[in-house]
Symmetry: C2
Subunit: 459 residues, 2 copies
């Protein structure tokens, strides 16, 4: 039935898409609906039809614990609704932290060359090592961990830090207790919930049971008061932090490593923004003596080279890191990577290798400088309007305080009145309420326009 289509696979309804790559989403949807209904067959249930049959498979109770949608798709939905309400508005996104600037040619040309080479006998390669190409692992080790006692065998190349976090949760299993900075990147908590590490969501405190939320606010300089934190097995720690933009100092990270050591905890250190650091804060947890015995580090080219769509990250699991029975964590992580993953795209890996060439590295640094200038403009804007603004210096995020107001209310106000998409701070944890995160990943013209609109809104 369907395979009779194989010889001429593109039906008239779908071929329309090939000639219309510039259609906007709404037009595409309209066309797709038309195309679909014209080829629909009788056995398809239409939305109004009730399907009587249910399987006997019980829904995973952990999935049911999750609250609403994952933050960023939720924001995308609200943005889309806003655009439908104001079809002529020029909506500017300072929201989901998505890179906007083209990837430097030294990097894309390496990827194009790799793609082209895949059509040659000499250049073709199939399955690569699940852990990544040895040359790339070596280049990551020598670029980011030179002199830190991390070598290529400690590096696991991946399709991004987010994906590695879920693989790390698969590794840890359901019987660990996790701690997270509050606020922080929602993936740590959400994957923990899915894995079954947590209790139910407690609406009154806006927290899941059995997670240690380590409060990070202006009062404590966005570093948790560890004397109030009880032991967790796994401490997720992001520095420079997403969303607050704060980078932990060497003293603070030394304290964190000591805290982990005292408790026998494992730190999962997310350094995806490390290259944005301007001061002498550590770029890697492994700059702290003894960290290799208590820490994993995950990072990514997403924000360094505009690889949010290309997908390439890595995770460092030092061979010195051991479970309580002495079993090396890296051995289990290797098994996870080999069983649940098949390596990052070889083309993306070629791009990453080019990122670490002298020219590529310089190009990444220039791009980071560009985004930091954006951050500077955003910081200046809010400061000039009398707001307390944090972050921005060591990170592409400004963390703006609206004391006494709900984050979603501020988010809605800025979207409604200025057509600007930000991110509500409470989406990162209860301590984020009263804040919004403003992303510096934006074209310069849009940052300047956003600044103008904000000055109009909050004058």
């Amino acid at each position: 039935m369907s395979f009779s289509q194989f010889a001429s696979p593109i039906s008239s309804s779908s071929s329309a898409f090939y000639g219309s790559s510039n259609l906007n989403t709404r037009t595409e949807r309209k066309m797709s609906t038309l195309g679909r209904s014209s080829r629909i067959c009788k056995c398809v249930a239409t939305p109004s039809e009730k399907t009587a049959y249910t399987t006997n498979v019980t829904r995973n109770a952990n999935m049911a614990k999750l609250q609403a949608g994952y933050l960023f798709p939720e924001i995308a939905r609200r943005r889309t609704a806003h655009m439908q309400k104001y079809p002529d508005a020029k909506v500017i996104s300072l929201g989901i932290g998505d890179t906007t600037e083209p990837i430097p040619e030294v990097i894309t040309s390496a990827m194009a060359m790799k793609a082209t080479a895949l059509s040659t006998l000499e250049g073709y390669s199939g399955y690569g090592a699940e852990q990544g190409e040895k040359r790339l692992r070596t280049a990551i080790a020598s670029t980011y961990y030179h002199d830190l006692g991390i070598d290529e065998s400690d590096i696991f190349v991946s399709d991004g830090a987010k994906c590695d976090i879920s693989r790390l949760q698969f590794l840890f299993g359901s019987n660990v207790k996790i701690a997270v900075q509050d606020p922080s990147y929602p993936v740590y908590v959400d994957t923990g919930v899915i894995m079954g590490q947590t209790g139910l969501y407690q609406k009154d405190v806006e927290k899941y049971g059995n997670i240690q939320y380590m409060r990070c606010t202006p009062e404590n300089g966005f570093f948790p008061d560890l004397s109030t934190v009880s032991r967790a097995d796994v401490i997720f720690f992001c520095s420079p932090n997403n969303p607050t933009g704060s980078a932990a100092t060497r003293e603070q990270l030394t304290e964190l490593v000591q805290f982990a050591k005292d408790n026998g905890s494992i730190i999962v250190y997310d350094s995806a923004y490390a290259m944005f650091i301007s001061d002498d804060s550590p770029r890697s947890i492994f700059e702290i003596p003894g960290a290799k015995e208590v820490a994993i580090e995950t990072s990514s080219f997403s924000k360094y080279a505009g690889f949010t769509g290309v997908r390439l990250g890595w995770t460092v699991v030092p061979k010195e890191l051991l479970f309580s029975d002495g079993f090396p964590v890296a051995k289990d992580f290797n098994r996870i990577v080999c069983t649940c993953f098949n390596g990052a795209s070889n083309i993306a890996q070629a791009g990453a290798l080019a990122c670490l060439s002298p020219e590529g590295f310089k190009a990444m640094q220039d791009m980071i400088s560009f985004y930091k200038e954006n951050a500077h403009i955003i910081m200046d804007t809010f400061t000039s309007l009398g707001f307390d603004v944090f972050g921005g210096k060591n990170a592409p995020y400004a963390w703006v305080h609206f004391p006494g107001r709900s984050s979603w209310e501020v988010f809605a106000e800025i979207l409604e009145k200025s057509h600007l998409v930000t991110t509500p701070g409470s989406g990162f944890g209860p301590a984020g309420d009263g804040f919004i995160r403003v992303s510096a990943f934006c074209h310069r013209g849009n940052v300047l326009e956003a600044s103008k609109r904000l000055k109009e809104l909050y004058k």
Copy 2:
């Protein structure tokens, strides 16, 4: 410390790799070892040094249940050992099912163009939809599921079927009971073990507790006797099967769907080899009426377009598929995909779209025909030597019977005497013992040479 290296990131030891992309693995390893030892710092524990510190984090007991390494890395290790023993032997791999032929230019040129476009303002894109680009989802739906009532919103584009299987396990959680064909692709079982769905490994029967192994042998035509199979929540079913190469008929799949319906089970149907089918066996489970209420389908371009290294697959979760409480499975899978994944590489997606253009599709079919001719040569070889050989017709795998012998023993014999890497059937499940899987993913010259050596060995 490490970041002082950022301005000039490539140390002399790693820069050697940039100028030596054609070095073979053994040479690379030697250079890397030299390079590493020259920059090693004092804080690194050498293998002989004991690290006293262990964390207090308990190793995930499910990880400890796993037996030895994942099959294919284990084979790679044995192959490497063999090459060290016989450095001058010309080892030919008919082993891990890795594609060998260059990707057609119509496909790689689309990827090169996408990569190049990422350096332009108009062509740059950051985060894509986690579910994949709408145009690609639409093209997959219309190419493979035309008239089957599957539309673009049912398709989740991914970085490969293996990765999707682990995400499906994350979705199902630890409280489901799974059934697998015995033998079958080891990832179903191994991810189930990691997820905590199973009991311990039982050495005597070579099975994990709490998994239904559905025996598939020549006696039952490689389709399980469902009257002997007790209920499972999730039935993993691969057709054409890896490793046996058998494709289930329409009658058999109708029986399977009815079995799932009677039990309220969910079928996870792996159709990664569907395009290899020569006869009128169904290419998709959704060709069977009612399957949308009981089945998920996962597939991939890996074996169709040589994308084993490029990484691009998809999973179909029909909106008609419901958990026992009526909750749509697709909604939970969407949440998993959004939380644990960030979309397939945009470059790989551009390649997949080209695969589904008329020229790309024709090129894929030609490549598949080439591999099927290889399979024919392999089948003929073993048949002429008097072996019982299965598969081959609808799949790129021949499944060769060595009655009364252990698979690993046969594997070792063929490797030792003929320098050919195959895959031991017992690696796919206990019912695979006594068989080896011979892959048709091979250059033609190598297949002919392998045929010659096998005729010498078993004459």
